[in-house]
Amino acid sequence: MNAHLSESWNSASLVKDEAWRFAQISRVRLNGFSAPAEPDAAVVEKYIDEARRRALGASGILVFVDERLVFSQLSDEALAAGARFEAASDIPFSTTPRLGMEALIQYHDAVSRSGVILSVPAETRFDEPFVVFRWQCSAGSASFPASRVEIGRNGFAKLCEFYSADAEADATLTLSRNEILVADGAEFSRDFVQALAPASKMYRTENVVAGENATVRGVDFCLGALHARTATELCADGRDALLDWRALNVASGDQEIDWRTIQRHAAPGARSNLLCKNALLDRSRTIFSGSILVDKVAQQTNAVQSCRNLVLSEDAEAHSLPGLEIDANDVQCSHGATTGTLDADQLFYLLQRGLPEADARMLLTLGFMDEVINACAGCAVADFVREKIAEKFGTR
């Protein structure tokens, strides 16, 4: 671990950064974390089993336990077609994360050794997903994962990413940098779920670039960690690209879940659609900050952004910062942000039909969440998310 960098880190430098507005900056710290310990063989075996069970029939599987690659598998078809899906210690990134993550990423890059590369050749199609599992099992450890996805011209692929931990592996730090490059005419979907232990911290950036006529979809679930911040930058770089991104954040306890996004339109005729759904329990906080940026050249852009906050407790707080910055005139751009609680009429209706109040509330809450869960590209992540949400509500 680069002690010099982590010691010299000072969260105060973020105070005046607009990209950190409303965030509890004092929670961000980089020092005091250890390198992960050697994982127990039995634990590793357990995780590999779980991964194989969840990723049945996948085009490829990579399993990491505390940054160590412990299992890898690539289907015969993927191998024959020349797909690359492997661990790599150095990732050649071609995009630059922004949104206030610059300093954290500088630190990440100095220490990161645990990367994943997915590369799909042009004109190649994989219907089954590539799946990455990252389990944490050393309490108080720090990890610095990275990933780079490159989909060739007219290619087609799906990726599922799991970040999870047992309750014992608590108070960890995860700093993650990711990049998705989708070439002209290609199609790519990515599901991501984070269910880390309750006192952990996770800071993550993702840059997505879509070429001409490319279609890129993403679904993010943020369920765990005390402080989770994601910075997503979507860029429609080619004409008529389509970007569709959805996130569901379920915050409880003292959690702060913070999602900052940019939908950048750098080419004409592209469409982008971004949906953020936050469910807030206990004393949790969520922040959604999104910008639609339309360049002068990006005429005929159609960009939509919406944020829906469902506040389920009187101590939770939801911050919404939707935004538009438009430099082209022939566009249709809109954003919406709402904050409220469960609809009293709907609740009354369910109670009338004999449902206990807790069940009725759960049913309505699941209804709110389904719009995101149902958008998952593969059922592996959707099932996992449903289990985790049930756990989260069940322990209440």
């Binding site: 607009e18 507005r21 409303f22 002068k296 906050n309 506040v311 389920l312 407790s313 009187e314 101590d315 939770a316 707080e317 939801a318 911050h319 919404s320 910062l321 939707p322 935004g323 538009l324 910055e325 438009i326 430099d327 082209a328 005139n329 022939d330 566009v331 249709q332 751009c333 809109s334 954003h335 919406g336 942000a337 709402t338 904050t339 409220g340 609680t341």
Partner: protein, 474 residues
């Protein structure tokens, strides 16, 4: 809008401001000179013969002004072009506001004439407090209003004659420390209005004040405090035009509204400054129980406007509203918005903003809605819509909405679009010229807000938009 129009008229909306684009030679009895210093503050205080507490207030504000940084956070770079050392902070023709129209000097009358503050209009107005540079050159209240106990004077008269009403609220809604510009205003304010409407009095006619800048390099720092006592109601109207000058001119007013229990205040602004003016205004209202404050705001002129009228909803069931129209053409940035701070149960607020960017203009919406902990039944609705006319027109929308707890509701929506070629084509089919069609489309876009302005303003606004659109197709 068709491509041909875009090419023909890169600067589609070109307001003819020549009506207000003139300057009459003035002789000033009081002139504090260039720059700001403690000496200037003393000069102002001496000239106005002010009590000591105001002098101390000004000096404290000056200290804060020196300490505060420029609001570089989202302001354009060229906000730094304002050279505080090259501004005259106090100019006045004479100290006392003229009591009757006959006392108003002829050249001032001439200026009013061209501005469209006609003498005959007085008949319809409850009172005219037409500010000519620093001091009220003319101030008059109709006799029946005076009988009702309505006070409508300048702030200087307010703080000397009516200190018991004035002092408890002065600087309370907008503290001196609010920003660099509110500190600047607190240090060297002169002119503006002080209005007090007693309990239960409903002022039937709108109170009007015309503001005008008429000296090069002269920042105008008017200060307005309006207090509506329990159950009182009033409408206050403020309109601006200014002559064009070459060097940057600063306008930095502070407007404080206080609506006590059950009171209603509506504050209407039409801002049409010349295109070299920096219009950096702080406006905020405090609404107590069951009170209602409504800002109706229209920004057409100036080089840069940064104005975010706000309402602090302090009493239960208080209501705040901001209706805003902004028009930005080439060389202009209209950075306007609204702030709604909910501090009691059952408070509601509504923000509707419509802006039009033409040529290379930029119109931004910047908003803040805050509903803190444990409040129940608070509601906010905010909508902002932007129409982009030309290829190089730009816009930004930056709301921030914070809700604590599960007993309140907010909703926000924003959209950006242009006048579609189909709309224009349809209207041209029916015999309208392209300019008429564009004018109709833009007027239709802002129509629901224009209707909210008092009648005479809404007629003027409609005409103004029509005029601009005529210029859009040569």
């Amino acid at each position: 809008m068709s491509e041909t129009t875009a090419k023909k008229a890169p600067d589609a909306i070109n307001i003819d401001r020549s009506a207000g684009d003139f300057s009459v030679a003035e002789e000033y009895a009081f002139d504090a000179g260039l720059g700001l210093s403690e000496r200037v503050i003393d000069y102002i205080s001496d000239a106005k013969n002010e009590p000591d507490w105001i002098r101390a207030f000004r000096k404290k504000a000056l200290e804060i002004f020196y300490k505060k940084p420029l609001p570089t956070h989202w302001a354009p770079e060229w906000i730094k072009d304002v050279d505080f050392d090259k501004i005259r902070y106090y100019l006045a023709k004479n100290k006392d506001a003229a009591r009757s129209w006959e006392d108003v000097p002829e050249d001032v009358k001439q200026t009013f004439e061209r501005l469209g503050v006609p003498e005959q209009e007085r008949k319809f107005l409850a009172g005219v407090d037409a500010q000519f540079d620093s001091e009220s050159a003319y101030s008059r209240l109709k006799a029946d209003l005076e009988k009702q106990g309505v006070i409508f004077v300048g702030p200087n008269e307010g703080l000397t004659k009516y200190a018991d009403i004035f002092r408890p609220w002065f600087g309370k809604v907008i503290p001196t420390t609010d920003s660099k510009y509110s500190a600047l205003n607190s240090a060297c304010f002169s002119g503006g209005s002080f209005v007090y409407v007693p309990k239960g009095v409903k002022v039937a006619q709108p109170l009007q004040a015309y503001f005008r800048i008429n000296a090069e390099n002269f920042g105008q720092f008017e200060r307005t405090l309006i207090i509506a006592d329990e159950g009182a109601e009033l409408v206050y109207m403020e309109g601006c035009t200014a002559p064009r000058f070459d060097t940057a001119t600063l306008h930095s007013g502070v407007v404080e509204l206080v609506a006590l229990k059950g009171a209603k205040i509506q504050y209407v602004t039409v801002q049409n400054w010349a295109s070299n003016i920096y219009n950096l205004v702080t406006q905020r209202g405090l609404a107590m129980e069951d009170a209602e404050i409504r800002w109706v705001d229209c920004n057409i002129g100036s080089r840069l406007t940064m104005k975010y009228p706000g309402v602090i909803l302090k009493g239960e069931r208080a209501r705040g509203e901001v209706l805003s129209i902004a028009l930005a053409h080439t060389g202009q940035v209209q950075d306007t918005g609204a702030k709604m701070i909910h501090l009691a149960d059952g408070t509601t607020s509504n923000i509707i903003s419509k802006s039009v960017s033409t040529g290379e203009g930029r119109a931004n919406y910047r908003g803040l809605v805050s509903i803190p902990k444990h409040l129940k039944g608070c509601k906010n609705n905010s909508e902002c819509h932007t129409l982009l006319i030309n290829e190089h027109s730009a816009t930004g929308t930056y709301p921030a909405i914070t809700v604590h707890g599960n007993a309140s509701q907010t909703q926000h929506e924003a959209s950006v679009s242009k006048v579609s070629a189909e709309q224009i084509f349809y209207m041209q089919q029916r015999g309208l010229s392209e300019a008429e069609a564009m004018s109709l489309a833009v007027n239709g876009f802002v129509n629901d807000l224009v209707k909210e302005f008092p009648m005479e303003y809404s007629v003027e606004l409609k005409r103004l938009i029509e005029m601009e659109m005529e210029g859009s197709v040569a």
